[in-house]
Symmetry: C3
Subunit: 202 residues, 3 copies
Amino acid sequence: MNTIGLVAFALVGSSKAIREEFDLFGIAIVGLAMAFAGGVTRDLFVTRVPLVLQTPTEIVLALGGVLLAIVLRIGLRSPDEHPFTLVADAIGLAAFATTGAIVATEANVSAFGIVAIATINAVGGGALADILLDRSPFILFDDFYASCAVLGGLSFLVADALGAGASTAAATCAVVTVGTRLVAVTQNWEIPTVQGLGLTER
Amino acid sequence: MNTIGLVAFALVGSSKAIREEFDLFGIAIVGLAMAFAGGVTRDLFVTRVPLVLQTPTEIVLALGGVLLAIVLRIGLRSPDEHPFTLVADAIGLAAFATTGAIVATEANVSAFGIVAIATINAVGGGALADILLDRSPFILFDDFYASCAVLGGLSFLVADALGAGASTAAATCAVVTVGTRLVAVTQNWEIPTVQGLGLTER
Amino acid sequence: MNTIGLVAFALVGSSKAIREEFDLFGIAIVGLAMAFAGGVTRDLFVTRVPLVLQTPTEIVLALGGVLLAIVLRIGLRSPDEHPFTLVADAIGLAAFATTGAIVATEANVSAFGIVAIATINAVGGGALADILLDRSPFILFDDFYASCAVLGGLSFLVADALGAGASTAAATCAVVTVGTRLVAVTQNWEIPTVQGLGLTER
């Protein structure tokens, strides 16, 4: 799953940079930033050297995603909106939320810490990519995205509290994250704004 | 004081997100980012796991600030400009600058390190909130804000060098930060630009 | 070399902030951010307290760069485009890439980790300065800039793999970085976009 996440997130980040007509170097940087930033932040929070700087496999997978974005762009107009990309992105979101929850549990943080690290691991890359592209992070106002990682993290806590083993809790987190994400995309779920709740005099 | 800081900063961050018509999830994220980012950066700089991920109280306080922002917005048009918010924000600034100075002292950094960590602890949250809202951090050009934390940090150093105890130095830092901030807001203090100094041929 | 880097980067960052008519405090912050952010990120990645917070010399050098930017602005219209600044900036880029490669080697990271830390050390400051100025980091789409640090990091790896000593590898990295950067500026080198390669139906 982590493999698919790295490839998918690099693909999505690079596709966005291609659309903005960044040069090849910029395309690679945005792709790598999207693939790695969440995991790097997770590792810094538990004070260890980022995993991506220690193993040779992660960089190869992410560069594969960058290359895939370039190849897809030659054939398609908008690879980042293709259903294939949306599904891969949802799987990536789930993979990274689950990895974050596992690493956080090992680091003995609080229940909030587990949900926070799962969410940051999942959405940190997308947020950095958007900041590099000089726009407000889409995770903040576009749709039901980071919320899926939060729900995944919470389901991990519940499964763990109910005495499920570590791998059951991880599987629950992954299923809840990818499931809510795919349903949200298909159903166009939206979270209301305060103004939208109709409670304020505008 | 730290309690007031967490609530106030979450309140101010969430109020800004409400004004930008972010959804409820985005409102919570900007509020939590404003409340926690300074302290998290401080903890990373002294290489320890962020405190907010280890204790359950900080998240409860910050979520209280988020809720307060929503409640206030229902009654008021601009809760982030209300005098109550400005005073709470000034107290938060002082509380976080003081906490930063204390943690930095314990980590054996240089005198510059103490002032830098005090300032980052105090203003890091506001800067991140503004970046998430896709605008240039207000601390850089709006008014006499981060400067108050710098003055607080410097007063901490002076008090410490004069042989005052740790708690006297902390109190000095807090009083100087909140005092200069409140005077700056009331008096509309401004720091000149290079162009404003009239020394350049424009 | 590190000395020149700190002064040059603080100078360039402050010059940009002066052009945007930031106040004196904002000018200092952007200058210090540009001088320090790369090194701080490097230190966080290898989980040690940032060097700049421990030694008193780095802050003095960076403040010198800030002051120099103000003095130059009084005499020149665009100090950040002056050849003197461009050369100093190229030397800074090389100095920081080399320092990053050395620190990364000592931290036992992978080959990718060495290139990544060298590049981040070199360009992290410029990227943060641009984010603070609320624009997309110029390193991503403007010209042949971060690529020089990547080439420097790769040449460090090659020299090291060929059995050259640590100081030869460091010298190679510095020469390659500053050399490619100066040639790129003089020759107006550009990296193509995917669209520019003419492979896509636009």
